[in-house]
């Protein structure tokens, strides 16, 4: 079992608004790849090179409501992992993006009070086991994940979680 300190992820933040859709996160033309790093080079391409450069230096993506709305493309989560994002803090998610995040091992938490407090460039730390987002001296709470989701996340994703279970069954 991970200790609380293992579940703490964070760093510099980049801030987006409401309704960021999957076509903006990773345009459909790049879905011919499943390599996270290659996908990462195209993350947020429609918003321009300046945003992409900032993203590459920001392990925490902060967003408004309905982040990741649109397509079911799993690469919307994997491209963020590929570009070095460790955690997403949003007011809310589209349901498919949230599933894809958990299932690919990307920490995605809903914490509107933290989103209100964060200014772009702030250092933000997310502890998904403790259910806290820390911004400077302040700490904000979110409902911790149910056990089944935590297991998937802590295994590094759904496929890794299943492989771990298969290995256990074989023993």
């Amino acid at each position: 079992m991970n200790t609380a300190s293992d579940t703490r992820l964070g760093g510099r933040s980049i801030v987006f608004g409401d309704g960021v859709n999957t076509d903006v996160i990773i345009p459909g033309r790049y879905l011919v790849s499943i390599d996270p790093v290659e996908l990462g080079t195209h993350a947020f391409e429609p918003l321009g090179a300046e945003v992409q450069a900032k993203l590459a230096e920001s392990p925490v993506v902060v967003a408004g409501k309905n982040f990741g709305c649109g397509s079911a493309r799993e690469q919307a989560a994997t491209c963020l992992i590929g570009v070095g994002v460790k955690a997403v803090v949003a007011r809310s998610y589209s349901r498919v993006f949230f599933r894809n995040a958990i299932n690919t091992g990307l920490v995605a938490v809903e914490c509107p009070s933290a989103v209100d407090a964060i200014r772009e460039g702030d250092e933000v730390w997310v502890d998904h086991a403790a259910g806290t987002v820390t911004v400077g001296e302040s700490s904000y709470q979110f409902a911790p994940f149910p056990p089944v989701l935590r297991e998937i996340l802590e295994a590094g994703g759904l496929v890794e979680h299943l492989m771990k279970n298969f290995a256990k069954e074989k023993k």
Binding site: G19, N21, T22, D23, V24, P27, G28, R29, L31, V32, I34, E45, P46, K65, N66, C69, G70, S71, A72, R73, E74, A77, S92, Y93, S94, R95, V96, R99, N100, N103, T104, P146, V148, L149, G157, L158, V159, L162, M163, F166
Partner: protein, 420 residues
Amino acid sequence: MGKTFAIKALERASGIDGLVAGQIVDAYPDLYMSHTATWRCIKTLERMGDPDLFDPNRIAMVMDHISPAQTSKIAGDHRLSREFAVSHGIKNFFDVNAGIAHVVLMEHGLVKPGNLIIGTDSHSTIYGALGALGTGVGFSEITAAWVTGKLWMKVPESMYINVTGPLPDGVYPKDVMLKLIGDITADGATYYSVEFHGSWVESLSTSERMTLCNLAMEMGAKNAVVPPDAETERYLLEHGVDLSTVEPILPDADAIYEHRIDLDARTLEPQIAVPHNVDNVVPISQVVGTRLDQVFIGSCANAKYDDLAIAAKYLKGHTVAPGVRLVVTPASADIMAKAAADGIVTTLIEAGAMITNPGCGACAGSGGAMADGEVTLSTANRNFRGRMGSYESSIYLSSPAVAAASAISGVITDPTLVLA
């Protein structure tokens, strides 16, 4: 206390009685659909060490998003999927000629009332047109279901939408959905099971119900459903389903709904979603005259037989405006064949339309790209920036009637003001 459709469907799929909204359960879907993402599922399965499949008969694969292949990489992805289907005994494999997965599966009798169906496509909500609980998932989840037969699902709360008709002439289910998306917003139904009710909904064909359930995704819905009825039975029989194998699920009359929306659509104007979000909806009068470079009649939302027939009705005897390209992509091979037999294809071609092979086509960015500054009016379900070519181009969304009337004039045109 009565139960909603979603509670009953997930009780059946999980084998657990007495579910309540918010609970997370393991559910066993009846069908796992993968489209062009199939090769990603196969690669994921290989990474897992190629374990045995839970039930090959619950797997359906449709090569729809990029068809035919545009590059050797994509041709290789298709070949991998084709060969995997043969080697793993997957009967429900539909190749690049078939059309859009959702429509193809329904036409082939693979979607039944009461089923739980997951797909690597957000618009899997469309299966509710036949009374199934359809929902979109990622490709890793489809792969996991191939192996384990199950996936985790949160039991959703439900939204009751009642629409009062009839609609004015020239106004269609697409307009009703755009109005609802604009009102409810792109996340107003997030995580909800959306149920469509009322005498107008009951009067709709299965094809029209597909448009409703498909577009409910654009309000964030987990799934959407029209309670199955005599029309559903008619469609199932027409598509070779043995009704004795069907166990429909209906919501209880006293079910608890978190939200109820009533829309009186009797005086509704045609509706348009303007760039770059689907909930950016205005009545057509606000954007009439907007110059167009391209009109696209396609997608799982609005390229079914009745959609093509409506377009042909407006286009018959007219020609597309100079400089405007009209791209028509039938949703499936069966629809294309029927439209060809009935003269609809000829009417469209004579008007200047370009008919492409069935599939997702321009909606998925496969052909029909725009240059910088260009504008497309599309019958599809998304108008996100850059979805059809340049990041500096624009997409407006409408019904097939608006699309056809506008293709003739070259600007956004109200079909209710044009004699069809």
